[in-house]
């Protein structure tokens, strides 16, 4: 770099680094919102949980090493295997993906942060708290013990009377709040928060993978959250959703769980595949073959993976045709996977790969994941599944795909991106030995486990008798388990040693082409001193000087434009710069909103329901306080953005990230609602002991009044948007007040049903479902009411103008959703009894 550029780079660094770093006060770290900081927190915590999950695995293998072992009793063993699965799936895999995406996405996309930095921080506190709740339960001996998928009725109150199951339901739900927030944020970020010129076709493939993963999270988690809420209220209040004697159905839980559970494993696999797609071309020294094919394949895979869930239920007694749908879809999903695999092989064949340490892990991934995929094809065949379902064959399969498809790529990623985290790397050290120990140990453990399952050993047995042929395979598995544990330990040591002692390397030691390598290593808090304008997928290959130019301020948004953080917002498809996204400063609000939310869960856990209600109100208040901090009090002037352009900041733009955030939140919400409707129809048509002893009293007047207030509320909110556009302020206020009043009426109309008109919810699943639907509707109209009043206050304080219309447009969007979903609820609740009577 020339002298002049070097000086400019230092100048920018000294003004940007303090602005983007977390506050240096004693408790300042609690207020951090910088994505690299939060991303590393997520990843480090996730790795901590991985080690805990690994210790639990060692306890399992110790117990199963021989027949009739007495190391753990069945009660303890059930907590151990349940927690092993729960920790690995909910506290390790998903959070690691979240942390990785938090850390990587802005860098890949050439930006300075994600769309909603405070939401990232909030997500971390929720995750940490949920994880600590589960961990505490384990230490106190009351960990969940009905298996990580918690089948009812075993996990219902009569058969699991302790708080173990409640810990799972509430703890996992708190953790999933973080996943939901992450999904919404990643969707908005990949769509809008990219550097200039980065059209969709120029996005790094890893960004596509993470985008597809977030979309899957958005649609995949609501069924789980719904099911958890339903089971928790069944346990706490006796609403019989899963009790067949009262019109419930144990299989409803399985459907809701696996509607989440199957996409979950593809949510875990896709980022791993994304890492492979990123690393493999770098080490093969040629661009990825079949970029377009892979984009199509991963979108197809994201969709198809939602059509597989019943393959976890092949033995529950389902009509043959239904079995066939899911068997067919389970086989179909192999095709997009095959396209990705053959793209990778072709990239290898056409390139000049060498077996560096990250590539060792990638090759390990090939072997293990392909094996897992092949056994997956086998279990997709229904008659074969009828033999191996719920045996160790499936345990072997799932570990092959999850460890092969996720853990191995992650380890490749850690070694590959080590220079970003630490600025150092080395090929000497324990890395190769550690890899072989893990690889050989893993295969020893799980390869023979296929046979163990075929020999008839079911899952989740705490011991087994002699003479069935299970002794030797289990012993081999246990030896392999300890071997891979040692291997993982060595990996950890190797990474830590490299972190501290490896030699510093020149930036971009792998000569990769994507933007995350375009900054100084270890990366600065602000990522880029100025943002790039890109013309291709490998901007660093196009212009090796690019990092130096950016550091010297020769891009968009050089330095800072005030005492605030900002980054570029672009058109979603073309990548044309469109807006400047103002980023919030560090704040304690995420923590202060997360704590009462966790409090709600804890109060519920200890049956202190009044506390839950009070703290829920506190959460609402904190959320409004948080929202108050957004936006601008005056219409802004356009700002210099570099390359001769001036752009408006995001509060003054139509397609601000916040608007997309509302859209994606509503997608999440709609999926939740669709799952609720599915549950209602399922209970109605399939559950035993229907019809219920009595239906709702007919109340057509109430129904019509509720519909009217819903319609009026939605209409009023949209009129407020129009009034705002035309700068008719008093009209706008009147419409907002009318919307609020309609909201109150609609809430009353919806709540009147379960309170006065419907039979008691504990009597039958019908009335329980009516209560749930009404509560859902009322919750939304209640929030719409609060939202309308909130926006009114915002208007009064000058936050809303024809240019700065985000508040009122978002409120109107939410009102429309509440109105439509509310109308469906009213129709379903008031009309179904007429159908039922017929």
């Amino acid at each position: 770099m020339s002298e002049e550029r070097h000086n400019k780079a230092l100048e920018f660094h000294s003004e940007l680094d303090p602005l983007y770093s977390p506050p240096k006060t004693r408790f300042g770290f609690l207020a951090a919102t910088n994505h690299s900081v939060i991303g590393i927190r997520f990843m480090a915590t996730a790795i901590g949980f991985f080690l805990i999950g690994g210790i639990l695995a060692m306890l399992i293998r110790a117990q199963l090493a021989g027949p009739n072992t007495q190391f753990l009793d069945p009660g303890q063993y059930s907590q151990v295997f349940t927690m092993h699965g729960t920790v690995m799936m909910f506290l390790f895999a998903i959070p690691l993906i979240e942390g990785f995406a938090l850390y990587m996405l802005p860098k890949l996309l050439g930006a300075r942060d994600l769309a909603f930095p405070r939401l990232s921080a909030f997500g971390y506190w929720c995750y940490l708290s949920g994880g600590l709740i589960l961990l505490a339960a384990l230490l106190f001996g009351v960990a969940p013990d009905s298996g990580w998928f918690m089948y009812t009725p075993l996990s219902s109150k009569p058969y699991s009377p302790g708080i173990n199951a409640d810990v799972w339901l509430l703890g996992v739900t708190v953790v999933e709040v973080s996943a939901a927030c992450a999904a919404i944020e990643f969707m908005a970020t990949v769509l809008k928060v990219r550097t200039g010129g980065m059209a969709l076709s120029k996005m790094p493939i890893l960004a596509w993978y993470l985008w597809a993963t977030s979309a899957m999270m958005l649609v995949g988690f609501p069924p789980l959250i719904l099911g958890s809420i339903m089971l928790e209220v069944e346990r706490a209040f006796g609403l019989p959703f899963f009790d067949p004697d009262k019109g419930g159905d144990p299989l409803l839980w399985q459907h809701l769980f696996w509607l989440f559970g199957h996409p979950e494993v593809y949510i875990i696999f896709l980022p791993g595949a994304g890492i492979v797609s990123t690393i493999l071309p770098v080490f093969a020294r040629r661009p990825l073959v079949g970029y377009n094919w892979i984009v199509a394949a991963l979108i197809a895979q994201a969709f198809i993976s939602f059509g597989l869930w019943v393959h976890h239920m092949f033995t529950t007694g389902i009509p043959d045709l239904s079995l066939a749908f899911f068997s067919a879809a389970s086989l179909l999903v192999v095709v997009p996977t095959a396209i990705q695999i053959f793209s990778w092989l072709t990239t290898l064949l056409k390139g000049r790969p060498d077996l560096s340490l990250p590539m060792l892990w990638i090759y390990g991934f090939f072997f293990i994941f392909v094996t897992g995929g092949l056994t997956g094809v086998m279990v997709a065949i229904v008659p074969f599944d009828w033999q191996v379902h719920d045996t160790h064959f499936v345990v072997a399969h799932l570990h092959y795909v999850l460890v092969g498809g996720f853990v191995f790529p992650v380890l490749a990623g850690i070694y590959h991106w080590m220079p970003l985290f630490t600025g150092r790397r080395s090929d000497k050290g324990l890395g190769v030995l550690a890899f072989w120990l893990v690889f050989i140990g893993f295969n020893l453990t799980f390869f023979i486990m296929h046979l163990t399952g075929l020999l008839g050993m079911p899952r989740r047995v705490y011991t087994y008798a002699e003479g069935l042929g299970w002794e030797l395979p289990n012993l081999v598995s246990s030896i392999g388990g300890f071997m891979s544990a040692v291997g993982f330990g060595l990996v950890l040591i190797d990474v830590l040693v490299q972190w501290r002692f490896a030699p510093f390397v020149h930036r971009n030691p792998w000569k990769a082409g994507t933007l995350e390598w375009g900054m100084a290593t270890p990366i600065p808090s602000y990522n880029f001193a100025s943002l790039a304008h890109v013309e291709s997928r490998d901007p660093l290959h196009d212009d090796p000087d690019l990092p130096a130019c950016l550091a010297a301020g020769e891009g968009y948004l050089a330095g800072h434009r005030g005492d605030y953080r900002d980054t570029l917002g672009v058109d979603g498809v073309t990548g044309e710069p469109e807006q400047i996204i103002l980023l919030p400063p560090p704040s304690y609000l995420p923590l202060l909103t997360a704590l009462p939310l966790v409090g709600v869960a804890l109060c519920f856990l200890f049956s202190f329901y009044v506390g839950s209600v009070i703290l829920a109100v506190v959460v609402l208040f904190m959320a409004l306080r948080w929202l108050w901090e957004t936006g601008l009090r005056e219409d802004p002037a356009p700002i210099e953005a570099g390359f001769g352009r001036t752009l408006l900041p995001h509060p003054a733009v139509e397609q601000a990230p916040g608007w997309w955030g509302m859209i994606f939140t509503l997608v999440f919400d709609a999926t939740f609602f669709a799952s609720l409707l599915f549950g209602y129809i399922f209970l109605w048509t399939i559950a035993p002991n229907w019809p219920p002893p009595r239906f709702l009293e007919p109340a057509p007047i109430l129904a019509l009044l509720t519909l009217a207030s819903l319609g009026l509320g939605g209409f009023a909110a949209s009129r407020a948007v129009a009034a705002n556009r035309q700068e008719r302020e008093s009209s706008r206020s009147s419409w907002l007040l009318l919307a609020a009043a309609s909201g109150v009426a609609a809430t009353f109309g919806l709540l009147a049903v379960p309170i006065w008109l419907a039979p008691p919810p504990t009597e039958h699943a019908y009335s329980a479902a009516v209560l749930m639907l009404s509560a859902y509707g009322a919750f939304h109209t209640g929030l719409s009411t609060v939202g309308s009043l909130f926006v009114l206050a915002r208007c009064r304080r000058g936050f809303v103008s024809p240019l700065r219309s985000l508040d009122v447009r978002n409120a109107s969007l939410f009102w429309s959703y509440s109105a439509v979903s509310g109308a469906i609820i009213v129709a379903v609740i008031h009309l179904m009894p007429l159908v039922g009577a017929a």
């Binding site: 009660g75 303890q76 089948y151 058969y159 079949g290 007694g317 077996l355 033999q387």
Partner: protein, 289 residues
């Protein structure tokens, strides 16, 4: 494993299907080889594989038509899987060889041929195989079904003639029998591995399965869905009788059905006691009961 299965063995046919029949022909579940092996390697391989396959709960030691078909399907799929795995790993490792010659082949042809056509063809074939009638056993409701009820942690069987047995299922050998399965409490699963696949016992629902044991004998069975701390001990056995002996066996069995199978024996597990003690101590200290 492919190679091992193909070892020449004087006393039996040795293609994979033949091998399966070899396992299948064993007179008892304890299966000892009854034919001399010519080559030493063949004997070792066969013994290892045989020893590895056999077992009272082994799906690879089938004793009925459903289990046999599935075991054969397994061996075929295993063979195919090995070929594919070898192909993929072979290609990946081959790519490591320094590019002595330019690898100039059409990406599009590879992706269409291997990425699309090959998987679609293979999967279509698999789909056809799995949907063929006979692969999915017909299971219309049967008036003469034996009613099986699962409890935590034992099984009761009620026969059409009114008899009842506990943890022992009496069936006729050589002919199909039907079971209607439900549960009294949580979800369990009914599984006789050597005869066929499993079916869940779901409270509030009755599931049906038809099975057949080729020969008289004792076939071990187990619950295959986690149902609480007694799950690992929730076994039962299926006794297949010659049709002419069946009625008598049933009558005799009922007379002996007085005592219920003992539930889980409480064991003192050292580690568990310590953990429990500490857990109680901590809970006490926090004032939580």
């Amino acid at each position: 494993m492919n190679g091992m299965a193909r070892q020449r063995d004087a006393g039996a046919d040795t293609d994979i299907p033949g091998f399966v029949e070899f396992c299948h022909d064993l007179p008892t579940h304890r299966g000892r080889m009854s034919c001399p092996a010519k080559s030493f390697a063949g004997a070792i391989a066969a013994t290892l594989l045989l020893g590895a396959c056999s077992g009272e709960l082994s799906t690879l030691d089938p004793a009925g038509p459903a289990a046999s078909r599935i075991a054969t399907l397994w061996w075929v799929m295993l063979g195919g899987a090995f070929v594919i795995l070898l192909g993929v790993m072979g290609t990946a490792i081959y790519a490591l060889r320094s590019a002595a010659k330019e690898r100039n082949f059409s990406t599009r042809k590879v992706l269409i041929g291997w990425g699309l056509a090959f998987p679609i063809a293979t999967l279509l074939a698999l789909m056809a195989v799995s949907f063929l009638p006979g692969e999915l056993l017909p299971r219309s409701p049967e008036e003469n079904a034996i009613r099986a009820q699962a409890h935590q942690w034992f099984w009761t069987f009620d026969y059409p003639g009114g008899e009842r047995t506990i943890d022992v299922l009496h069936v006729p050998a050589g002919e199909e029998f039907a079971i209607a399965i439900t549960s009294e409490d949580v979800i369990h699963s009914f599984w006789i591995p050597r005869l066929g696949g499993k079916i869940d016992a779901v409270p509030g629902k009755v599931n049906h399965i038809r099975l057949k044991a080729d020969r008289p004998g004792r076939y071990l069975a187990t619950c295959a869905e986690y149902c609480g701390i007694g799950h690992a001990h929730m076994r039962f056995e299926a006794l297949a009788h010659r049709p002419e002996d069946y009625a008598a066996a049933l009558t005799a069995a009922t007379d002996r059905a007085a005592a219920r199978a003992p539930v889980l024996e409480q064991r003192d597990a050292p580690a568990a006691l310590v953990i429990e003690e500490w857990g109680d101590y901590l809970l006490d200290w926090l004032g939580i009961t």
